[in-house]
């Protein structure tokens, strides 16, 4: 039994012959090559081959049981089923096995780079050359390259269940992380892309220059006005969206969901976007999700769910059931979560604001009784002209941040870290506080 397809079928048949009423088998096979180089050090390479199988087994009633095995044979699959069968007793609560899908459409977003086999050590050397050239051309001669890490992954996903679902897909992912420092400051600039030719080291270095310059040269901004227009860059606003993303999962409270936010605000989760690293044709339970408005025209419309949480809430799964590498039980996770862009160029936001601050980097400093405290680095602007770098602190909560959004731009960028979060530029009005801090 060599192929994952055979292993998956073996899981279904062994589970049913052990006595379970329904079985779901999930297989994940990942080949990953990593390259890492620091100046003056030899290139470090790592290759990993993972072949993991997860089963979720249902009694007639009661919660499902699960197991995870590495590269299993028939004997180990049989033994795992016997183990979970003999160490547990079913209870009488109804379960959700009837909600496991029986089929899935074969349509898929574009998420596989067929040229992945041609990307190798030579490609990494070329990437390193591009990075070195860009640094030489940099206006900041003191900037140092600390490390470049590059990886390519080929992931094959298999899903089958006792309801005759049997499907699979292939996905590629390239990660490039460039670590640079200028004086005491250090930044990791990361890009994750589905296709190799979508990686742009030159653009990453431009971002690094801006960030390091604002980190290094920013003076503390004095509070001079009661109201400060702040434009958050896509990177900064995606950071906020990610920090607050739990509110769009199962546990959003009712009061919070009833508030009317600015009508220009739309927050979407969409697993079907071409070329995005968060995209999948279906989730880890075989449910095809599609585009979902979590906030539509300023009103909360839904949260993301998997089959289990949807069953509890008496709704349908939104197709967001994904497994962590440690568990056979999916939990609701985002695919591509983003704030929907408008038609306005960022220049329009600056015109509207007249004078304010463009925030390029955010760091969460603390969460305390007064909210989330962020440390913000960016540039002052006036009459559409960028001026000196500045640094300031502000406090906010998701509720307050969303309520203070004035305008949203059209230029969207995504940042991948566990899930893909994206945002355009966002203009927000902040107020000053007596403790030398801004509040949104």
């Amino acid at each position: 039994m060599n192929s994952m397809t055979d292993i998956i079928q073996c899981v279904l048949s062994e589970g049913e012959s052990t006595g379970f009423a329904a079985v779901e088998a999930f297989g994940e096979s990942i080949e990953k090559h990593e390259y890492e180089e620091s100046p003056g050090e030899p290139v470090f390479t790592h290759f990993s081959e993972t072949q993991r199988v997860t089963a979720r087994a249902f009694w007639d009633t009661g919660d499902p049981l699960g197991f995870t095995l590495s590269k299993p044979h028939t004997a180990s699959i049989k033994s795992a089923f016997l183990n979970i069968y003999s160490t547990n007793l079913p209870d009488t609560q109804p379960n959700f096995r009837h909600l496991l899908p029986s089929s899935v459409d074969q349509k898929s977003p574009s998420i596989c780079d067929n040229d992945i086999g041609n990307v190798d050590t030579g490609t990494f050397d070329e990437l390193m050359d591009q990075v070195a050239e860009a640094i030489i051309a940099s206006p900041f001669q003191e900037m140092k390259l600390n490390k470049v890490t590059f990886s390519k992954s080929l992931k094959k996903i298999y899903i089958a269940n006792s309801n005759r679902l049997d499907s699979k897909y292939i996905k590629t992912l390239y990660d490039l992380v460039i670590t640079l420092s200028l004086k005491q400051n250090r930044v990791d600039i990361a890009e994750s892309r589905v296709f190799f030719n979508q990686l742009h080291p030159h653009k990453m270095l431009s971002r690094a220059y801006n960030l390091l310059y604002s980190l290094g040269e920013a003076g503390s901004m004095k509070i001079q006005r009661n109201h400060l227009p702040i434009i958050f860059s896509p990177e900064a606003s995606s950071f906020i969206l990610r920090e607050f993303s739990n509110y769009f999962r199962v546990r959003a409270d009712k009061e919070f969901m009833q508030i009317q936010y600015p009508s220009i605000l739309n927050i979407i989760d969409n697993p079907f976007m071409d070329n995005q690293p968060g995209s999948v044709p279906f989730d880890d339970e075989g449910i095809q999700g599609g585009e979902k408005y979590l906030v539509r025209k300023g009103t909360f419309s839904q949260v993301i769910t998997d089959i289990s949480t949807a069953f509890e809430g008496n709704t349908q799964s939104s197709g967001n059931g994904f497994r962590s590498r440690r568990s056979p039980f999916p939990i609701p996770k985002f695919s591509n979560l983003y704030i929907k862009p408008t038609v306005l160029p960022v220049k329009n936001l600056m015109t509207e604001a007249k004078e304010g601050v463009l925030v390029s980097v955010l760091r969460l400093k603390a969460i305390d009784a007064h909210g989330y405290l962020f440390s913000a680095y960016g540039y002052r602007f006036n009459a559409e002209e960028m001026m000196e770098p500045v640094h300031f602190y502000f406090r906010t909560s998701l509720r307050s941040f969303l309520l203070n959004i004035i305008k949203i731009s059209r230029e969207i960028r995504f940042f991948y870290n566990t899930f893909n979060a994206g945002s355009p530029y966002i203009l927000v009005e902040a107020g000053s506080k007596p403790d030398h801090m801004y509040e949104i």
Binding site: P42, S48, T50, D63, T87, N146, R186, A366
Partner: protein, 423 residues
């Protein structure tokens, strides 16, 4: 891969995760994974990790010729029956029913990890780590985050139900009767013996890790060795022969042993926490601290344990010497920002100290401060050393490993204290 300068790790990892919550939802997850991590060290710098069905399959892949018997690992598994776990711990569930939190979840973990370290010319070394743990999570009314109370052991899967019930009850009563209090300036905070050392693990232990030092993320440099970096009340050790927690882990994950466990002696830095790779790069003498979560991960220099050695004071003296401050008894998660020299931590069972006596309950609070200002503000170290309750773990670069900490009661001046945010 045929190379003399190599290290190979063969692993078998199996166990059970079982949870039940206040809505009677149960999750039972059995896992069994095997694999090999092969590393060619300098000058090659390559590695590969391969998943296997059984550790014996590693023989065909090994660089080094070893006998099949050397790859033999325990076949017998620790059985874990969910119904028995519920029956054995029924008093905890009764207590939860009586305390009526908004929601609760109890998690049981049972894990057996076996590792073989193979290096050319050296007899294969076997490490074994068995662990059983219980974690009780509670969310009270008007609270956003969960309070966690747990206990873990490498020797027994039986838990101290009375101890756990008393801790849960104390925390719930603290939160229900807590008096909101605003601290306008930095105050002394007394960290209870045992788990309080997780703060030293985070703010000082990680600063001593060689990869952070090599990448200049840590404020520490190798030049600090031999100099005073913290208050002279502080002596830190990375191993303790009396502690049985890592008793069957005789070497690190590249087959090395740390020669001397003392990291900081009376405030003076003696050594760093390093693996072989960073030992060479930083030109230091110590290694023996290489760890991986499992065979599929890249090795990192990290702590197994961190103990604050006992001082000379009675714990009561620390409280009596504090006219206005905080006593911290249960600890939650925290975060360290090396680049800004800052950190914050949740305290889940905090009490106000007034005129040298513990007075009002404060519920959950957050303490924060400047790393080195705080480390130099360790004012008193008591003589009541205790190990943690066995549930400490550490996440670094996405890898989670069990760690051990221990300390006596410690008084730190100059910490900012705020209440928890509940939006």
């Amino acid at each position: 891969m045929k190379e003399k300068n190599s290290v190979e790790l063969v692993e078998q990892n199996r166990g059970v995760y079982f949870s039940i919550d206040s809505k009677d939802r149960k999750k039972y997850h059995y896992y069994k994974r095997s694999g090999i991590l092969q590393r060619r060290l300098d000058p090659e710098n390559t590695s590969r990790s391969i998943e296997l069905n059984h550790p014996s399959e590693a023989k065909a892949l090994l660089d080094t010729n070893v006998k099949a018997a050397a790859l033999a690992l325990r076949e017998k598994e620790n059985p874990f029956h969910s119904a028995k776990a519920l029956r054995d711990n029924d008093r905890i569930f009764n207590a939860l029913t009586q305390l009526k939190p908004m929601e609760w979840k109890v998690v049981f973990r049972s894990n057996q990890t076996d590792r073989i370290l193979i290096k050319p010319g050296v007899k294969p070394q076997k490490n074994r780590f068995d662990y059983s743990g219980i974690l009780i999570k509670l969310r009270l009314k008007d609270q956003r985050s969960f309070i966690e109370v747990g206990e873990g052991s490498v020797q027994s899967s039986r838990f101290n139900q009375d101890g756990l019930i008393s801790r849960i009850t104390k925390i719930v009563e603290n939160h229900r009767s807590c008096v909101p209090h605003t601290f306008h300036d930095k105050v002394p905070v007394i960290l209870g013996a045992g788990d309080g050392a997780i703060i030293f693990h985070e703010i000082l232990g990680h600063s001593l890790e060689a990869d952070y030092i090599y990448l200049r993320q840590s404020p520490i440099t190798p030049q600090h060795i031999g100099t005073s970096i913290v208050s002279n009340h502080v002596t830190l050790s990375a191993r303790d022969p009396m502690d049985t927690f890592f008793k069957n882990v005789e070497c690190d994950d590249e087959g090395e042993k740390s020669e001397n466990p003392v990291l900081v002696e009376n405030g003076i830095l003696r050594r760093l926490i390093s693996d072989c790779f960073h030992k060479k790069r930083l030109n230091i003498t110590d290694c023996g601290h290489c760890r991986v979560e499992d065979f599929a991960h890249k090795p990192l220099p990290r702590m197994y344990a961190l103990y604050v050695k006992p001082g000379e004071y009675d714990p009561e003296e620390l409280i009596e010497s504090t006219s206005y401050g905080v006593y911290a008894d249960e600890f939650g998660e925290g975060k360290v920002f090396f680049e800004k020299n800052l950190f914050y931590f949740f305290i889940r069972d905090a009490w106000l100290i007034k005129n040298g006596k513990i007075s009002d309950p404060l519920g959950s609070i957050i303490v924060r401060g400047n790393i080195f200002e705080v480390l130099n503000s360790v004012a008193m170290v008591a003589n009541d050393f205790r190990y943690d309750k066995g549930v400490s773990y550490c996440i670094k670069n996405g890898q989670t490993v069990n760690v051990r900490v221990g300390q006596p009661t410690v008084k730190i001046n100059n910490l900012y204290v705020t209440n928890e945010f509940n939006d």
